[in-house]
């Protein structure tokens, strides 16, 4: 526990340094923040274009699909902002600069996570949140307290699930330094998956996204519960509320993977 607090403190200190560093390039910051906002907006434009041709896609109307899009992008955006730069761990292993982090009195995970912290990534969160708010206002849902509660729970659990993926991906880079892009398949690829209705995909894909890499808990299961649609695999609908538990388990597993990766690095060297 004390170590976790130490880690958070180090994260905060280092992230603050990066924010101040970025302030030296103010225009660049603005441009890239707007770019990040627009880039994630373009994928929503593609969905809008699709819905300009059809009423229903995978059994969902536009506001319902937008609910999927908004939740997934906000969750990924949160994870991307806080842990996104762990992708460049392989680079640090290759050029040896990881070693400079290992001689500092702070957990390496916190230091790597805060490395090159970029506030501009807030663009994706902003864009996702805008779509989410629009979708929440538009969807035809009989809101209950439980459903209302599920919205923030889903976003936080979703961010934690994506965060765990970032950490596992970084741990993997201890052994395969050039394989940073594999991680994109599960983060950006996962997001691309989750922004479409599960009914669009083959059963095996949905099964895999529920039980193998449980991305379905980011938004599919909770959103289907809110919309009163059944589970595509015929699973009980209360499974939507397992999202926090799944996120916790996944984070614990990611922590173990990270420790194994770091231990491997420290015993094998570079």
């Amino acid at each position: 526990m004390a170590r976790a607090l130490d880690g958070l403190r180090a994260y905060r200190l280092i992230a603050a340094m990066w924010i101040r560093s970025a302030a030296a390039y103010r225009t660049s910051f603005l441009v890239t923040a707007i770019g990040s906002f627009t880039a994630s907006g373009l994928s929503f434009a593609a969905i809008l274009l699709m819905f300009s041709h059809v009423e229903v896609l995978g059994g969902l109307l536009l506001p319902e699909a937008a609910l999927l899009y908004g939740t997934s992008n906000t969750a990924l955006g949160l994870a991307d902002l806080t842990l996104g730069n762990m992708v460049s761990l392989g680079q640090r292993v290759r050029d040896g600069t990881l070693n400079t982090l290992l001689v500092r009195p702070a957990p390496v995970l916190a230091q790597v996570a805060a490395d090159r912290f970029a506030l501009r990534r807030i663009g994706r969160i902003g864009q996702g949140a805008l779509v989410l708010i629009w979708a929440l206002a538009q969807v035809d849902v009989a809101w209950t307290p439980l459903k209302i509660l599920l919205v923030p729970v889903m976003l936080i659990s979703g961010a934690a699930i994506f965060g765990a993926v970032y950490i596992v991906g970084a741990a993997f880079q201890f052994c395969a330094q050039d394989a940073a892009e594999v991680q994109n398949s599960f983060t950006y690829g996962g997001n691309a998956l989750l922004q479409y209705p599960p009914a669009v995909f083959a059963k095996e894909v949905v099964w895999g996204a529920t039980f193998v890499i449980p991305l379905a808990f980011v938004n599919w299961l909770p959103v289907l519960y809110i919309l009163d649609r059944g589970n595509p695999l015929g699973l009980p609908t209360w499974l939507a509320f397992a999202a926090p538990a799944v996120a916790t388990a996944l984070c614990a597993a990611a922590g173990l993977a990270w420790r194994a990766g770091l231990r491997g690095y420290r015993s094998a060297g570079s």
Binding site: V54, L57, A192
Partner: protein, 271 residues
């Protein structure tokens, strides 16, 4: 025998190709990512074309083929980033460009050779494998005739040159702008959206769609894909290739003009 000058640029392209072969793990990871995205988009398109058969003039199989062609060309055409331009921008930023300009080689051709070497590598590695996986997993509308494939390769080559020429303009803008990030960003977004990577341009509605199909980015992905899908016959094929060649000419000339201005500027500043 190739004339000596040509041989130099071929050697440059070959050496870039070789350089990329060294990154095995990165290439494998990229192939994996292309396949994952290919599957996701393929399912989404199947749902869309299930609701609207013949949307944008494509049948279901053609739509699926479009998905896998996009994934196959994504790396080669640098549709989602990558390529030479960041290296060139860095040389401009640090002033090392002055050395390049004083060399007895043409800078534009030099970087074109580099980028084509990379594109060929990416077409063979990150292109062939995802397309093969897509063809195994789904029924695709791939042509039987070798001539069609040849036409596709020609169109893809023109597309690669258009992609290069656009990024060359972007990179050279660093001579005038302090920070290339903004222009890179805008070009990246335009490329992603107007190449057809997100959705085929044939699906874009009305006048917006008609305009989008005339922009240079259309020549990078949409045209080669349509050539492979056999949507251009006879004179239509000629027109499609001419459309690409037209953009090649315009953009390379613009790049040349910009290079000239940049050279004068560098000389005036004393390097």
């Amino acid at each position: 025998m190739l004339p000596g000058v040509m041989r130099l640029y071929v050697a440059v392209a070959v050496s870039t190709f070789r350089r990329y072969t060294a990154y095995r793990a990165a290439t494998a990871a990229g192939v994996f990512t292309n396949i994952v995205f290919g599957f996701i988009v393929a399912y989404a398109y199947m749902a869309l074309w299930h609701e609207r058969p013949n949307l944008g003039g494509y049948g279901r199989e053609q739509a699926l083929t479009f998905v896998w062609i996009s994934q196959a060309l994504a790396a080669a055409m640098a549709l989602l980033g990558g390529g030479f331009q960041e290296e060139l921008q860095e040389r401009i930023r640090t002033g090392e460009i002055a050395i390049d300009l004083s060399r007895p080689v043409d800078m534009q051709l030099w970087w074109l050779a580099c980028d084509l070497g990379r594109a060929v590598f990416h077409l063979l590695s990150r292109g062939v494998v995802p397309l093969a996986v897509g063809a195994l997993a789904f029924r695709l509308a791939l042509p039987q005739s070798p001539l069609m494939w040849l036409a596709f390769l020609l169109s893809a080559l023109l597309g690669a040159v258009v992609s290069f020429a656009l990024r060359y303009l972007v990179a050279l803008s660093s001579f005038w702008l302090l920070d290339g990030a903004g222009v890179n960003m805008v070009n990246g977004l335009l490329t992603m959206f107007f190449s057809g990577m997100l959705l085929p341009l044939t699906v874009f509605p009305g006048a917006f769609g008609e305009t989008a199909r005339l922009l240079p980015w259309a020549a990078v992905l949409q045209t080669p894909a349509d050539v492979l899908l056999g949507r251009h016959h006879g004179s239509g094929l000629g027109r499609a290739l001419l459309f690409q060649a037209g953009w090649v000419l315009v953009l390379l000339s613009a790049g040349r003009a910009m290079q000239l201005r940049a050279t004068q500027r560098t000389v005036v500043q004393g390097g």
